[in-house]
Symmetry: none
């Protein structure tokens, strides 16, 4: 029996509130000759005080040593097996522009590119055309391409990036990338990986052919490369699995998109971190579960900006009382994965977690960082278990077995 | 999706070097009234200094509470699921004498025994005949037994132990032991456990019958007992799975044999611990992954020789600079399992591990032993994850999911 099915079968409802405060890319590493990790250096008295009355620990986003993308890392946080629900790049990209994906859609990420007169790629990013240019080209494709029996949507993202959505019956998304991942080669054919995807692959081939004609008079974006084909199959929602009315607060569209896929109501009004905390307070009466996402820790980590990441942590620390004063039944503070400034990238390092509730068993951890949390009562566990622990602390899980 | 398939699908290549220094049976226990475990008593300043700049933890070779044999313990260290790849005794024994096993061979361990005139076993070890005697008897069997359509090899090991190899087409190894594991009984029949192994079981029966005739004039070794039948199916190599050119340094043939099964190039020249470290240095330019095996910690543990085990640890400690001066990208020091002198046997106790790399997150552990490592940042994990963590630290794993 799958663990997720066990959890789902034990759900009980009550009036409790659960808040997940998620710092993207929270975990870090000490810089050479430095004073510790970003969290160790940051002055964050409120988070430390919270850790002191919480149970703490370390989370492996997937499994020891594996570095996750944002999709699997978030699915795990919400208790969805990240290997089973590995979301394709096409879906993630569409989620990232708040595109309303429907069940059965096949999606792929588009990169506009430049090819020479022989069809050989000379620029995989079409000179990074600006987003306005991108919008014009997407519209041109959308208006000039018709395929039989299916609807085609071409949605601009940023610069040279867009999303292709094919909507119709009996589509399948197991199709190989057409992006050869290097210049000096022609784009590849969209090959079906299995029999059932063959008809869809032919549709894609037809689309590409027509797109080449439409783009032939473009100077820069005269070709397109497709990758991350995926069919949206629909996920059981937080409501269906846990009986939770879930609310998502994120400034970045991709995280709103991921949570929308799981049936969260999505706040689209928050532009700053302060807005996010305000949205939490304003909507606190209406939902049971709240996801508040801080993007900037990851962004500063990706930039290699150690001090900038420290500043974001310190800034959020000052806003902690606006959550704790709501007195949620369960408050979890953690991240989706580590993004150490030292690495300028997502990494495999486990990340600290704290869970505060009236029924948690506080441990001896008094500061919230990667090293202190080693000694926490949660030990080291995979993120997928966090939601189960939160539900129990909220009194929302019955016992298993007689 | 299997975790091992996920890991294998993320492999990236680079020029990094990974060294696994494996003390066989490293973990220990305090003796009655003693001063701690073997590792706690040993003076090992270099390993302690290394631990201080490493991430440390505890490994369960298989799963909490399970005691492993050498085969599964090693498979787990290299990231091979020890339950899936549980190697039969016959294969292990053959690997242990550097016998070149080929795919499709069926192997079994032979114990020479003494039976009375009614065929009842009166000595399961044939008076522990010496190895020379063993070699003479194996040769005699080999020269006098022919089976139809298959090749038979009888290879001496030590004292009363040998290996039977059956080579041919369509052989199957699911055959029950003929060793009743006690005296006063006749040897059992080699029963097939499933339909497809029936033909092979009949071949084995024929072999045993002929062997009894050949051995009838022997005083001691006038019978044989077979156990651990297994068909060699071939394993994906370290090269196939991880893209690693792996080099194995061990003084004991069994460990060379296990690594040969996984596609390691095997050093056959090292007779002493000093030779092993020399072989590491001399071959350092030629490979990506190095396994250096210290057998003596296990041997002293099996002997119940606490002080002897301490001495081996102290001896190896002095050689640590010859590894660290190579500056490997990832250096792991651990064992395959525990062999406490107090128990004189393999045990289920988790064992300490340290991993040193430029991208590890050092914890507060300053001494390398079973108790200090409880506080390490790796926490407690199963050995099968160690290889994943090492690959990530070497920059050889891409992220999972978009």
């Amino acid at each position: 029996m799958k663990l997720s099915s066990v959890v789902d079968s034990l759900i009980e409802k009550n009036e409790s509130k659960i808040v997940f405060l998620i710092f993207d890319g929270l975990g870090g590493l000490p810089m050479e000759g430095g004073r510790g990790t970003e969290l160790q250096v940051a002055k964050k008295p409120r988070l430390d005080e919270l850790a002191a009355r919480s149970i703490c620990g370390l989370l492996d986003p997937l499994s020891p040593g594996l570095t996750p993308g944002s999709g699997p890392a978030h699915f795990a946080l919400f208790g969805y097996d990240p290997f089973e629900y590995n979301i394709g790049r096409g879906i993630l990209e569409a989620a990232g522009i708040d595109f309303p994906i429907t069940d059965g859609d096949v999606l792929a990420r588009i990169n506009y590119a430049t090819v020479d007169k022989n069809g050989v790629i000379i620029d995989r990013r079409a000179g990074r055309i600006d987003t306005k240019e991108n919008e014009r080209i997407c519209k041109k494709l959308q208006e000039n391409i018709r395929l039989s029996n299916v609807e085609i949507m071409v949605e601009p993202v940023k610069e040279h990036r867009a999303v292709l959505v094919i909507r119709g019956d009996n589509l399948h998304g197991d199709i190989e990338d057409t992006d050869p991942q290097r210049e000096g080669h022609a784009p590849l054919k969209p090959r079906a990986m299995n029999k059932e995807s063959e008809a869809t692959a032919r549709l894609v081939e037809d689309f590409i052919k027509k797109a080449q004609e439409v783009l032939s008079d473009e100077k820069k974006a005269n070709a397109l490369l497709l990758r991350g084909f995926s069919k949206h199959r629909g996920y059981p929602s937080m409501k269906e699995r846990y009986g939770l009315n879930a609310f998502s607060i994120a400034t970045y569209p991709m995280y709103r998109g991921i949570t929308r896929l799981l049936g969260f109501t999505v706040c689209t009004e928050a532009a700053t971190i302060e807005d996010e905390f305000k949205a939490l307070r304003e909507n606190y009466g209406k939902y049971d579960f709240f996801y508040l996402h801080i993007k900037q820790t990851d962004s500063r980590g990706e930039d290699g900006d150690f001090d900038g990441k420290v500043e974001v942590i310190e800034k959020v620390d000052k806003l902690i009382p606006s959550v704790t004063s709501l007195n949620p039944d369960v408050l979890v503070v953690t991240g989706d994965h580590s993004t150490p400034a030292k690495l300028k990238a997502h990494s495999w390092h486990p990340l600290p977690v704290l869970l505060c509730s009236n029924y948690c068993r506080p441990d001896e951890v008094k500061t919230f960082d990667e090293i202190s949390c080693i000694h926490g009562g949660l030990g080291r566990m995979e993120s997928v278990h966090l939601m189960t622990v939160a539900l129990s602390n909220a009194g929302r899980l019955a016992k298993f077995g007689a």
